[in-house]
């Protein structure tokens, strides 16, 4: 197991190198002059002298290969540079936005786990019942509705409508932003904060929760037909132990894979949800950095997302051994 972990961590090095190098090269193929944006923004009218000064300040007047080598020299020293757009340290920007992404991501993942797995399990155990049919219809609908549509609908139902009709304050949820930014144990919203987290977390979790529920249902149905389930019952185990200890653990493997991959997505590319709810996370900041041609921010934040993806993927792989003790890593010939 330790050698497997070491191998996977080492594999991260070329992954990060190629991902960032590819983005670096791609950046210079994008239309738009970053110096112009630094000097004055999109459809404004910058002074030519300011554009030239911006080029010099950020080495944009140097050949691309020189910029590439300089970038990697800085990155190896963990100097992610300074934002072209607002001259802030990328390390600071990363620190602020990553925290927000994790806070939102944790709640979205919890919703996926509790609701997705719970609903899928019930639907599988009560196959062809009303609850199963309703689950099928709702999950199909949920996975088809774009998150920004769902976001605006939820904002109307839980914020605009209650305000129009004078509902009590505690029933009105907040539509936008981070709120008072008060947290306990890093991610537990405290005081007013919970009213800001609910809607973006539900929106962010919606599609994957539906997918998790459908996958859980299918996987559980498959497992319920397996021989070892019949054997477990024949041994005289009570139904609860059969389902939880023998069925659920086996059925969870594909579901955990989905949730694990989704964790990386939620942290790094939740652009639509973050934009709909003005949540200052990593995804929306990366998108903004692309439109602003802010190369240091784009690369610095992407670096963190690549690492998060890799770590989430490693955690998922390692979790297989816990769900299915037959799976062992690190030895040739093992599964």
């Amino acid at each position: 197991m330790p050698s497997y972990i070491v191998r996977r961590v080492l594999l991260l090095v070329p992954t990060v190198f190629f991902a960032l190098s590819f983005l670096f090269v791609l950046f210079f193929q994008l239309p738009g002059d970053p110096a112009n944006l630094i000097a004055g923004g999109a459809n404004r009218t910058p002074d030519p002298g300011v554009i030239q000064r911006a080029r010099e300040r950020y080495d944009l007047d140097k050949p691309v290969p020189t910029q590439f080598v300089n970038y990697w020299k800085r990155t190896l020293r963990w100097d992610l540079g300074e934002s072209f757009a607002d001259r802030r340290s990328v390390n600071d920007i990363l620190g602020e936005h990553a925290k927000n992404s994790f806070r939102l991501g944790i709640w979205a993942i919890l919703i996926e786990i509790v609701v997705g797995i719970g609903v899928g399990l019930i639907a599988a155990l009560r196959r062809y019942s009303w609850s199963d049919r309703i689950t099928t219809v709702i999950t199909a609908g949920m996975s088809a509705v774009p998150v920004f549509v769902l976001g605006f609908v939820l904002q109307y139902i839980f914020a605009v409508y209650p305000n129009k009709h004078g509902w009590p304050d505690f029933l009105k949820l907040r539509t936008q932003g981070l709120g008072p930014n008060t947290w306990t144990f890093f991610f537990v919203p405290t005081g007013e904060e919970w009213r800001y987290v609910i809607l973006p977390a539900v929106t962010l979790a919606s599609v994957t929760t539906a997918l998790v529920a459908r996958m859980m249902r299918g996987s559980m149905l498959e497992v319920l037909r397996a021989d070892y389930m019949r054997t477990a019952r024949a041994k005289g185990l009570d139904e609860r132990s059969v389902i939880v200890k023998h069925g659920l653990r086996n059925a969870l493997i594909p579901v955990v894979t989905l949730i694990g991959i989704d964790f990386g997505t939620i942290i790094g590319v939740a652009v639509l949800t973050e934009t709909t709810f003005s949540w200052p996370g990593l995804g929306s900041e990366i998108a903004r950095s692309v439109t602003r041609r802010d190369l240091p921010v784009m690369l610095g934040l992407t670096l963190s997302v690549v690492v998060i993806y890799a770590v989430a993927s490693l955690a998922v792989d390692l979790s297989y051994a816990w769900f299915d003790p037959r799976i062992r890593f690190g030895r040739r010939g093992d599964a």
Binding site: P31, N36, P46, D47, Y156, P168, Q176, S278
Partner: protein, 562 residues
Amino acid sequence: MKRSRVRRGLVLVAVLGFVLALSGTTEAPAKTKACKKGFVRNKAKKCVKKAAAKKTTAKKSTATTGQADSRKPGGTITYLNTFEQPSLDPAAVSAVNPTSGAVMASAVFDQLVYVDAKSGDVLPGLAKSLTSTDAKVWTLKMRPGVKFTDGTPVDAAAVKYNWARMADPANKSPNLTTAASIKDMQVVDPQTLQVTLVSRNGQFPRLIASAGITFVGSPTALQADPDFRNNPVGAGPFMLKEWVHDDHLTLVRNPNYWDAPRPYVDKLVLKLMSDPAQRYNTFIAGQADIVTSYLDYSIFTRAKSAGFPTYPLLTPVGGGNVMFNVAKAPFDDIRVRTAVYDALDPDDQNQVMNNGDAATAPPPALIRQGSNIYDPDPSLRFPKHDHVVAQQLLDDLAKQNGGPLEFSLTGVIGDKNLEYMQSRLNQYRNLKVTIRGINGGDYGTTLVSGNFQAIFYLAGGFDPEPDFYNEFHTGASRNYWKFSHAGLDAALDDGRAALDPAVRRKAYARMEKILNDNYIASYFSPTIGGFDGGYVTQKDVKNFDDAITFGPPRWALIRKDS
């Protein structure tokens, strides 16, 4: 089975407890039992006759239009901001308009001088006066006894320090050009700064009001704190308490503000929300007090029809236009410019693109009512767009050139006005227009390179100074079309140097006439920088009318009924 019931019961109790705990953290819901018909609930939560309530409100309104409201300050104002200024160093704040970083800076620093939205005049703010007799040497008088929030004085030396800092190229301030127009500064006494300009400028106060040079930070803090940009110290109505980047700023009342008893509210929250749909949703959900219709005029009209107080902001000079590049064929020929000008139809454009909304109707002249240099002379209006003349000219040009007139219309990808214009213009005989859509990031470099024939542009603002000088004077930094006209240069020079509004009015009337006669541009929108409409507030926000300037609102003047 019994154990399971007990467990279920415990879970239910825990869930109920959690819900109650959460609800306990919010404000208690108001007891809102309705009053009888004809009665309303007053502040003491008693039902009173509607007429009596109205009387009290009217009295209060009269009081708030006076010099200052002596009632105890209180409440929180939440403003939905459209742009976050990344640094609150005064040297980093560039433009001063209702959607720039000045919105944040003015709360912390106040403005030395500002442009009043009602009169268009430059009025004193943190500074007591700024005067000159020759437009070259200016005397800035500061108010005695005013202090920054760190206790140091806001005096002539502080202003000199800030302006010298902006003029230093090493600091890379966007205000460098403005600060560099100052040749010399002398502190005459603690309250007086004598400023000598490089050349005469009768609009120096307007120049200060429109640039970041209007903000002054504490020199002591600027020298001592390397992270001043995040911990600014000013003499504004509010002090920065918390800044969550890309989300919000929380500012608290400055108890020692020079214009006591202002500010009237205890707390100001500037919440960043660039998307117009989100802004409107948040506003109607009651989660914000003030919103702008920036980038979406419908916010203004929808809020108005929903009964919210609305405050239009006039943009009386210039607007959105198609600018012809006179340095390049085919627009180096005035007949081509005239033909295309006549072929365009801004009224039809407003009808098609904005449902004929009166507020977005094409401007009748370059300088309009609302500007203090407006000249009602009908000959200064934009020439009429004549489709018959357009077709005749196009036919003549085709005969002469042996083919139809062809040109490209440049604009940022996604601007639907581009497609509208192309479809309308291509209906003429002997005219072929292609669209050259460019990425927003390429817009500035396209202008600088001069690589365009006709381009969508925003020219003007709230006064011809300083934009029109920069855009139309020979050799000026933004004269991308290389237009050069001795008469126009003289008019712009006279307009800049003059102190007397009557002289300015005459100079700019000359400017209007020359620009109209030369068909440099066709104006189709009164919009400046996307600031359609204006502000919308909740009903309990008071004094906002007095707070509007051509820059950010004057935060100190806004009051909230609680």
